[in-house]
């Protein structure tokens, strides 16, 4: 790691999102274990800034576990252990002395099941900024509005900001959760099967939203839905369970290539629906 990388971190990330060679997130020879269980095996890949990367694969292949490497959400599982190098903006995020809270502020996450807090829509979005010390009502109003606009839900909720975040539909809840993440101005948004609990129309809305957001954010999405990966992503990583039940990276390439001209036979089998 060079000093230059450290310096870029302290400057405005809007201008220097990516490290020098253009990648934003990087895995190098990464292994993840839960106790004795080898969940992710020997994965290496680089993810570019301001793009959408889809992680696909059959269920149980370690997609979500891999996603959770990037914001150290696996830390919450006591038996989890990580080997190898995980970099964000050129910084090894598993080295000692890393501020995990700061990391998660910059690498936000949206979950499979919409999980708005049991409080008002406004308070849901303002939650992050408030915790990070913003008290000024005017600034908060501004952040809430901007975030809800970015999450393409403003028009639907602007008249009921005081209502409970649980009172809106599932698709709206998920966009509210995205707004909640946007409100803390992350650089990366990790999405763990964000549409699996939603109906097709709500799914399309989220996908449109992702396309728009990708002009400014790096998005990594785990999905079991291949069409979704094909529709929204720039790059696609295909994961599979090996013989030892550990998840490993089979192929990583431009989405077009993966879906039209996969290099690996297994990828082709999966894409064409022969298994999974």
């Amino acid at each position: 790691m060079t000093i230059g990388n450290l310096v870029t971190l302290k400057t405005d990330p809007a201008n220097t999102r990516a490290a020098e060679d253009g990648h934003c997130l990087r895995l190098q020879q990464v292994n993840l274990y839960y106790g004795d269980f080898h969940a992710v095996k020997d994965v290496s890949l680089d993810i570019g800034a301001r793009s959408i990367t889809a992680i696909i694969g059959p269920s149980g292949c370690g997609k979500s576990s891999m996603l959770r490497l990037f914001n150290r959400m696996n830390d919450l599982i006591p038996s989890a252990r990580v080997e190898g190098l995980v970099e964000f903006d050129g910084v090894d995020i598993y080295q000692s002395g890393i501020d995990v809270v700061e990391l998660r502020k910059r690498v936000g996450m949206v979950f499979q099941k919409p999980n708005p807090f049991p409080m008002s829509i406004y308070d849901n979005v303002a939650f992050g900024p408030r915790r990070h010390g913003i008290r000024n009502k005017r600034i908060l109003d501004e952040i809430v509005e901007k975030s809800l606009i970015q999450a393409a839900i403003w028009d639907e909720v602007k008249d009921k900001l005081g209502q409970s975040g649980l009172s809106i539909s599932g698709g709206q809840q998920q966009r509210l959760c995205i707004a909640r993440v946007l409100a803390v101005e992350p650089e990366v948004i990790l999405m763990d099967e964000p549409c699996s609990a939603l109906d097709p129309i709500a799914t399309l809305k989220i996908e449109d939203l992702m396309r728009i957001l990708s002009t400014n954010y790096t998005i990594v999405i785990v999905t079991h839905n291949m069409q979704q990966a094909a529709r929204v992503s720039d790059m696609t990583a295909f994961l599979m369970v090996g013989e030892d039940r550990a998840g490993m990276l089979v192929e990583y390439a431009h989405t077009n290539e993966i879906f039209t001209n996969p290099k690996n036979k297994k990828t082709e089998d999966y894409i064409t629906g022969r298994f999974g």
Binding site: P78, R104, G108, K113, N115, P118, F127, G128, R131, V181
Partner: protein
């Protein structure tokens, strides 16, 4: 033959279920009976003077204000110590420890301490607070004793209320760079608050009715005036009831019933309050 067999089976069923119904009646009817009887007998002694005056003629006349106040102070003192420690211990056990043999041991200790006889806590309080810390037979020592006893309850209810908060809420907060403590403070605790509150109210209600420990740590039957400081000796309703009913010959029976009625009203009021909080939360 077949028909009579079926008949017998249904007869057995009818008899058995009647026996069950009688069992339930044996549980319920005495409770209702006691409450009605208590109200009927104690009602006549409830007067403004009874509730607001000090006892006179060795408790045979006058009121029971010092005992009521003593009990209120004891409830407040108990919760003052037992709630913060209980909640923080509950947070510690649910959020800051990992499941291992030590946490299992601690959990086992807490569960079993809830079953330790109250008189044993009295002995503990006598040795530690009254004599060890030299607090004497005071309101403070009694509060601390009752708090030690209530701890098992406040810890258990807080921990359960905290653990009942879905992990999705914690993840949602942590995933936007909110620290663990802030997540607990702003997401977990507000969700767990009704459960913690229910436990606190029940602990107070129990402290109000607890008698054996305060006999050991020195409740008094009669003290001149109202308790002025935490270091004063004190009267308390349950101890007053014990003394007037078991130790003072010639005590007018209205006084006994009156004391019993006031005590049970206080205790049940808190129980009902806890029930209301619980029902309200369940609806939400």
């Amino acid at each position: 033959m077949k028909a009579s067999n079926a008949k017998r089976r249904y007869l057995t069923q009818r008899v058995a279920i009647s026996v069950l119904a009688v069992s339930l009646a044996l549980v319920v009817i005495p409770v209702i009976g006691i409450i009605i009887y208590m109200i009927a007998n104690g009602y006549s002694s409830l007067s403004w003077e009874f509730l607001t005056a000090s006892p006179s003629q060795a408790g045979k006349a006058g009121g029971i204000l010092p005992a009521i106040l003593g009990t209120v102070y004891l409830m407040l003192g108990t919760i003052l110590f037992a709630l913060p420690i209980g909640v923080m211990a509950g947070i510690y056990l649910s959020e800051y420890t990992r499941a291992n043999w030590l946490t299992r041991l601690i959990n086992m200790a807490i569960v079993n301490l809830a079953g330790v006889p109250s008189i044993v806590f009295g002995l503990f309080g006598l040795a530690v607070f009254v004599l060890g810390l030299n607090l004497g037979m005071s309101l403070l020592a009694a509060s601390l004793t009752l708090a030690a006893q209530a701890l098992a309850m406040t810890i258990t209810t807080s921990r359960e209320a905290i653990m009942a908060v879905p992990k999705e809420y914690r993840e949602g907060s942590l995933a936007i760079g909110v620290s663990r403590w802030q997540t607990i403070r702003h997401v977990v605790l507000p969700q767990a608050a009704p459960g913690i509150l229910t436990g606190a109210i029940l602990a107070m209600s129990r402290a109000a009715g607890e008698t054996a420990p305060i006999i050991v740590v020195g409740a008094a039957f009669l003290v001149g005036g109202l308790p002025g400081s935490p270091f004063d000796r004190f009267m308390a309703l349950p101890y007053h009831l014990y003394t007037v009913s078991a130790h003072i010959p010639g005590m007018p029976s209205e006084i006994k019933w009156g004391v019993a009625l006031v005590l049970i009203a206080m205790v049940l009021l808190f129980n009902i309050l806890a029930g209301i909080v619980r029902i309200k939360t369940r609806k939400r």
